[in-house]
Each structure stands twice: as C-alpha cells, then as structure tokens.
C-alpha cells in the first residue's frame, strides 16, 4: 500500500472525525501500556494513525521535496511514522486526555514528517549566516531606501545594527530574510527549534522597542516608549536560559 492510498483511505471515521463528546473507541493508554494481544492491536492501529498523519503532512509539503515521486514519498512517510511512534510511546505517560488521543497522536507524526521534509529540502543546500557587513553605515550610504520612500526598512536595518548582537542579526537574517527553515538552521547549528525561536522572539522585542522609541511604531496601550535595554527580553520571556549564547 502506498502513502497515497493510505492518505486517501478513510478507514475508521471514528478515529479521525472532528472532536466531539463521543467517547474514544478504546482506552489507548491502557492498551498501549499493557501486554498481550490487546497491546499488539493498539500498536498496529496507532501505527496506521501515524501513517495517515505523516502522509497528510508530506503530501502538503510535497512540492518542496527534491524527489516528489510517490515511491519517495512513501519512504518518507513510513520513516516519519516510525520515528513519531517511538517519540509518542516515550511520552505516553504525559497524555492527560485534554484532547482526543488520536488528535494528540497526529501531532507527533505531523511534526516528524514536516521536519523530515524540510531537512530533505535543504540537505544539499549550504546555509550561510550572513551579517550586515557595514555595521555603522550612515543612512546616506543607502539613498535608494529613502528615495523609494522605504523609510521603515532603513530604520529597521539601522535598529538591527544598533540593538542586536551579531548572533541575533545572523539568526534573524537566516530565518526571516533568507528563509532557512528553523529546523534546518537548528540542525546545522547543533541547537533546537525552541532556542532559535527564543532568539527570534528577543530580536523582535528589541526591534519593536527601538522602532517604537524612534516613533516608527505606535506606543502600545498601557506602556511608555523606551529604548531597548539589555534586560528588556527577560521581562517578556520567562525562559531566559533558552536564549542566545
């Protein structure tokens, strides 16, 4: 059976129908954590769910694949489903029943499949960490920005030089200007998505504070304009350890 047919298969509507008050068809946690034939059945059904969600994700992103053939897609789907299933089983004890188990399971497969597609998309592409190479360039050296009325772009570039560290600039340029996927950049840098997103969040907080102080952005209601300061991010983000090196 190919990923295509798996994705198109709507074999058990009760497992994938929109959330409702209907009870789950089985106690997944007990079945998966148990033993014997019941566990074997649950594992088989869980794998089918993971295949379905992984196929759904890979087909959504299929145009990004270097080899989008059905056979290649099938390999990616099966690999992602297997890895997602391992990840899910490792976290089975954390399922609290706030959503349907099937929805909870789907997200593992979607994450794994999307990450794998992005990795394949960039596997032969070099990722460059670029910085502005004129850190103190006066505005008149970029007259085209002003001539085109792109005053805000020039102000953002100036703020990037003034209030961001070189590391923050490189991460922001890679992710938001060059379009490197966050998983890919994390992998190349030996870090993780969460740490890079924290860096990006701090970048945005600093830039917005600077642009607000300079009159380019409206002052948020209930606050006064201020310059971006070194501690500005810690007041916003409760996880300072996940930030920039």
């Amino acid at each position: 059976m190919t990923a295509v047919s798996r994705d198109e298969q709507r074999s058990n509507a009760s497992l994938v129908s929109p959330p409702s008050e209907v009870q789950e068809p089985m106690d997944w946690v007990s079945a998966l954590a148990g033993e014997g034939p019941q566990q074997a059945v649950a594992l088989r059904e869980l794998h089918a769910l993971m295949i379905r969600a992984a196929a759904h994700q890979v087909w959504r992103m299929r145009p990004a694949l270097p080899d989008p053939s059905p056979a290649a897609v099938d390999v990616i789907v099966n690999q992602a489903a297997d890895e997602a299933m391992t990840a899910l089983l490792g976290k089975l004890h954390t399922f609290e029943g706030r959503s349907r188990f099937t929805t909870w399971a789907f997200k593992f497969a979607i994450l794994q499949a999307a990450t794998e597609v992005r990795r394949l998309q960039w596997q032969h592409r070099e990722v460059e960490l670029r910085d502005f190479d004129m850190p103190n360039a006066p505005a008149h050296e970029h007259p085209e920005l002003y001539a085109e009325g792109n005053d805000l772009a020039a102000a953002v570039a100036a703020a990037m030089r003034q209030v961001l560290t070189p590391y923050q600039r490189r991460i922001a340029i890679a992710l938001l200007v060059d379009g490197v996927p966050i998983d890919v950049l994390a992998d190349r840098l030996g870090t993780n998505r969460g740490a890079l997103y924290k860096t990006l969040h701090d970048v945005r907080v600093r830039l917005r504070a600077e642009l607000t102080a300079n009159g380019y952005l409206p002052v948020p209601r209930g606050s006064s304009p201020r310059r971006a300061s070194s501690d500005s991010t810690s007041r916003v983000s409760p996880t300072p350890t996940a930030g920039t090196p």
Binding site: F106, D131, F132, N150, A154, V156, M160, P181, K198, L200
Partner: protein, 79 residues
C-alpha cells in the same frame, strides 16, 4: 555551514520588515506550542472563533509551528 560574512544582504523588503517586526507577545515557546497544539486544533475545529492569544502570537511568529498547526486542523476537518 558557512559563517563567513557575505556582502550586505541589501535593502530589506517589506515582507522582511513585516516578519522582523511581528509582535510575538505574549511569549510562548515552541515546546509549549506543541503541548497545546492538539487542544488548540480541536477547539478551532469546534468553534472557528476560538481564541488563544498566546498560541496565535506564537503561530504568527513561527512558520514551522504554524504549518504544523494548520496541517493538524486540516486533518481533523478531513471527512
């Protein structure tokens, strides 16, 4: 991975500027987003007007999490 600075990236486009200045507060980490994604998706499928400010802010700022949340919602809506 090359860390050699290349020439100036050049003028920022309006799309770049918009992405750089996106308001991603209140803070929510990618891990927390993943933890909430299933309940968030189900709530949105039940009621498209459902609001979760922190999730919405995170999904505005994180393209990867946004794609995965959209995908999960689409999957739940698939008959």
């Amino acid at each position: 991975m090359s860390t050699t600075p290349r020439p100036d990236p050049g003028p920022l486009t309006s799309r770049n500027v918009s992405a750089l200045l996106r308001d991603t507060t209140p803070w929510l980490s990618c891990d927390e987003c993943f933890e909430r994604m299933d309940t968030y998706a189900e709530a949105l499928v039940r009621d498209p007007r459902h609001q979760d400010e922190a999730m919405a802010a995170h999904l505005r700022g994180c393209a990867a999490c946004d794609e995965e949340a959209r995908s999960l919602i689409q999957l739940l809506e698939t008959p």
